[in-house]
Symmetry: C2
Subunit: 420 residues, 2 copies
């Protein structure tokens, strides 16, 4: 028998306890032993919760209890869970966490501390989708060439509604907040930070690269307008917030930003609050994993899968530096060296000479245009919408700055990267 | 170090040997030890093959060699591989096979014989997609409510072309044969038998049910016409050949047939030769897995993942009666008791009274109509296209028989089940 202590008994913690009880028969059969949730730690004992396990406010009742085998950390935050997970591992307890922020900052350190003690976190990326399982086991024969993930349901819901129903950003943000999909302060979701935490976890598994959120390119969906969406539809693109990890030589690209992506790509078809992650392996080609990225039961499904796995295997599985080969030196690709195609929306005066100025600036920066269209606006203004051939991020940023300085654009240009 | 012997060095066997060599560094790191392909068994030594391992025509050079740890069976067929796998397991060798026909008939027996010796077959279902891994590990906290799989790339390619490009069945079959997607005798693919073998493997993992292909409902895509496709498009359905496993009480539905499926469902968006499998768990909700279902490297990716897994774990994982709880009695639902919605195409004489006769027959069999449309054909004939509300398979079959006997239909009615 394995005893489980749950630190943080909110929506997910409640589901974990209840799944272990509701599905006890199959879980026992699959794990090869009984798994019993025995105690939960909460901050407020007065709050009504739908669980039958004993509750306490004192985490040490789990950490200092030698009979507890597995600690499930579902607190949220970084510093306090970090101390608790460390203490649990030092006590020799297996740890399962769904805490992506904790992992985005401390996963290597904690994994190293864990050594052979299981330290698992399937639920931290894309909720119920077994994507870490796929990367570590199912695709283990492959060099991972790239990962593209829709890993934030809030953003995907908002973008889907903007594309399918023509709703604009402010309206849909309000709706998402009313539906409970977005927080009162939505920055963490719409700004791309949540997706970035998840991307760093996948990047570490695929490539063994250890970087912090502050080091990578993160852009949110706040600047996407109806004009961008109309252009995308006209050129058969969808717009998605993607977390992208890609190996180019010995450098790893890690970036989160909205993309224009051909609408016939499988990941472009992932709509609404759902998550989807496309992984390209050198042998298997593209595979994609789809499901609910959030929600108590879906997330708890992944937590319990980790618990069952721990019961089966009894020790940790190799994790760190998964892709890194002995002696191989991999580094994060500097943001300004990223190469891709770009979409730009420029608000310009609708008069002769404008196009020539724009074209000159692009030419001077080694940027060549693939598609262009001009849409009239009110008051003799126009939107100039264009896509480039593949070019270098620093060149496009320089061109945008020059466009702004030259006065040819009337407002700050909007740029969206293209993935195809 | 683990030594691997490969029995059957065709496209997949060649890829297995080459992946083990090409990706040796990461595989060694992930497996925790070196894995070496040492010998392959072929029937014709004279044929040129792109492998560097030793080749022989004598399987006993693997089976009788105590230094070989893992036997990879990629022969095809049933009886001969059955004998070879049995012998390998009796010799205590781990076995990895991609042979779905062998498994459709003998998996329980072989798994039981294997006991704690690893007997793995990820590649037998949906090629490179790690679906067995997902069912056994990633979704282990869930009762599996249903599985819907596009598991035959040939059929999916043909249906996609028929739907997107209006090509008719005979033309597209010829094209698929020319492209090498379909065999000269295409029955095994287009008749649904290949998908059925894969479905039985998934059914055994999800539900622990042991039945043979002969016992389940299998229909192919041979009777789908342009008229059906046009109707489907008009009502926003796609047409897919699905393998379906579903638990209803203590009965398991297992069936392979074309379906009309709402085109906004994720699995309906899996196009071309690709495979996709949707799994609904009681906790996680719907998850979907997508990728290449065939091809040497993709299939070999799954074979090698199993080999790496064996190297890591060193013994078999619980497999049989996965979902079946102690004492639970599950049985195959008899075909005639299946309940779903149905689409029917009836070729009728375009004259008064026809509709009344049709309606009477449906009414007498407790079948109620949901949608209906009539499309004129040449020579005063018409296609009557309709969908029913949920009804019982035996009732619809009886109604079809009565329609034929009554003379109201001019040709054999075409029936396609609806999944939504």
């Amino acid at each position: 028998m394995l005893k489980v202590g749950i630190i943080g008994v909110g929506t997910v913690g409640t589901s974990v306890a209840n799944i272990l009880i509701d599905n006890k028969n199959i879980i026992t059969a699959r794990a090869g032993k009984e798994i019993v949730p025995t105690i939960g730690v909460v901050s407020n004992l007065g709050k009504k919760r739908d669980v039958s396990i004993k509750l306490t406010t004192n985490a040490d009742e789990i950490l200092e209890d030698d009979s507890i085998d597995i600690v499930v950390e579902l607190m949220g935050g970084i510093d306090k869970p970090y101390e608790i997970v460390k203490k649990a591992l030092l006590k020799g307890k297996a740890v399962v966490t769904a805490n992506k922020a904790l992992l985005a900052y401390h996963r290597y350190e904690l994994q190293e501390l864990a050594g052979d003690i299981p330290f698992e976190f399937e639920a931290a990326v894309a909720g119920g989708i077994p994507i870490i399982n796929a990367l570590r086991d199912g695709l283990s024969a492959n060099h991972i060439k790239s990962i593209q993930g829709i890993m934030n349901g809030t953003c995907n819901y908002m973008l889907t509604r903007m594309i399918n129903d023509g709703v604009n950003y402010d309206e849909i943000l309000k709706e998402a907040q009313e539906l409970g999909y977005a927080e009162a302060d939505p920055t963490f979701d719409v700004g791309g930070y949540d997706a970035a935490h998840k991307l760093l976890i996948l990047g570490s598994i695929a490539y063994g690269i250890d970087v912090k959120p502050e080091e990578i390119l993160i852009e949110g969906i706040e600047n996407i307008t109806k004009a961008d969406i109309e252009f995308a539809k006209e050129f058969e693109y969808s717009i998605k917030l993607l977390g992208i990890a890609k190996k180019v030589g010995n450098e790893i690209e890690l970036r989160v930003h909205p993309v224009l992506i051909p609408e016939d790509k499988m990941i472009a078809k992932v709509d609404g609050v759902m998550n989807g992650i496309s992984v390209v392996g050198d042998k298997v080609g593209e595979t994609m994993y789809y499901g609910a990225g959030a929600g108590g039961d879906a997330t708890a499904s992944a937590v319990v899968a980790n618990i069952i796995d721990i019961a089966r295997k009894g020790k940790g599985s190799p994790m760190l530096g998964f892709e890194k080969q002995p002696g191989e030196k991999i580094t994060l690709m500097p943001k300004e060296n990223i190469q891709t195609k770009y979409y730009l929306r420029l608000e310009v005066a609708d008069k002769s000479g404008t196009l020539a100025k724009v074209a000159t600036i692009f030419g001077n920066n080694s940027i060549s245009i693939e598609n262009m269209m001009q849409k009239p606006l009110k008051d003799s203004k126009a939107n100039l919408l264009l896509t480039t051939h593949t070019c270098v991020e620093k060149d496009i940023l320089k061109a945008i700055k020059e466009l702004e300085n030259s006065g040819v654009v009337l407002t700050k240009p909007n740029m969206i990267r293209i993935e195809d």
